[in-house]
Symmetry: C2
Subunit: 199 residues, 2 copies
């Protein structure tokens, strides 16, 4: 019996287990109503055990949102590294990766931006702003290449983020159906913004 000497307490490291269980529950087909007691049940502990690690439900949700931001930033950074050098390619690649992340974790994405109680607090956390910083540096790189207009980079980055976030939300809510919005709506929308950014 190998004991975990790194985790010096009672049963196991419940905090991590609870967090992982909760994250996994979000990945399931939507509609599962997310309940603290169900998390505890699946983690195999009593219904009040999570309270030893999270002040309340909102605290758990906030932490989950932050994990989501970490993952999103990681995915973006990683994906863009493999993209061609020119700005336009990076722009489209990042946008695709972003929307793909949201489509594969819709509940998580909604939690991150949905404005549930604790989530707003999460947005002020540095971990949540890494994704924005990523956009800023992408813009600035484009400016150095002479591909992006010389305007305040954070304003341009805001434009990108808003556009992609908006598209993502509309998509998640099922609004971007071809019969309503035409074919290639996403591509067209991204192109429109891109041309507004370009020098």
């Amino acid at each position: 019996m190998t004991k975990q000497e790194k985790r010096p307490y009672h049963h196991g490291d419940l905090r991590r287990v609870v967090l992982n269980t909760a994250m996994a529950m979000l990945t399931e087909p939507e509609g599962v109503n997310f309940t603290l007691r169900e998390v505890a049940r699946r983690a195999g502990v009593s219904h009040a055990a999570p309270y030893k690690h999270f002040a309340d439900k909102a605290a758990l949700l906030t932490e989950m949102a932050l994990v989501g931001f970490d993952r999103l930033t990681a995915t973006l950074t990683e994906t863009v590294q493999k993209a061609p050098e020119d700005f336009a390619s990076k722009f489209f690649t990042a946008a695709a990766a972003y929307m793909d992340f949201a489509k594969q974790n819709p509940a998580l994405y909604r939690l991150m931006f949905g404005g549930e109680f604790g989530t707003i607090a999460a947005h002020l956390d540095p971990r949540a702003l890494n994704a924005f910083d990523f956009a800023v540096s992408l813009i600035e790189e484009g400016q150095r290449q002479g591909k992006v207009r010389e305007r305040p980079s954070r304003g341009q980055a805001t434009a990108c983020w808003a556009q992609i976030h908006g598209l993502t939300m509309l998509e998640l809510n099922g609004l971007l159906q071809p019969e309503k919005v035409g074919d290639n709506a996403i591509e067209l929308a991204l192109t429109a913004l891109l041309e507004g950014l370009q020098a």
Copy 2:
């Protein structure tokens, strides 16, 4: 199967009263936890009475979201009518009105786009798509004036909607603070898109 809403019945026309009460509750300072029983309490009826008019909580929320879309479309149409004729002015005016609506009814706006249970169904309702149609016709008018590039109007409209919706969401979540995003971020973002749309 005919609903008789205006005709006098038992107490009053509860459906409307419940709906109004619920809408009013959303306008209050955020944080009020929205509960069916509380709505009934404020409407002065028993806790189960609303079930005679709404199948469940989601149905009420859906109806509320639809009312929100009606109001939003009305506000946009009305505001833009008073704006100068040129496309850019209308674009900025509409954007400002849109964001103003959201800022003055944050909870309602979040309900409309938040993806709560019944809300997704609401998006497929024609009433919810009027706002999009409004954007489309604005774009087409701009194209007729030769101010907007000749591309599929619904794609361009999608770009507008996504951008403004994205900005609105970021704003509501408190992300557009000058120290993070720079000054005039909203204006800069809108300008970037506008230039991508223009011919």
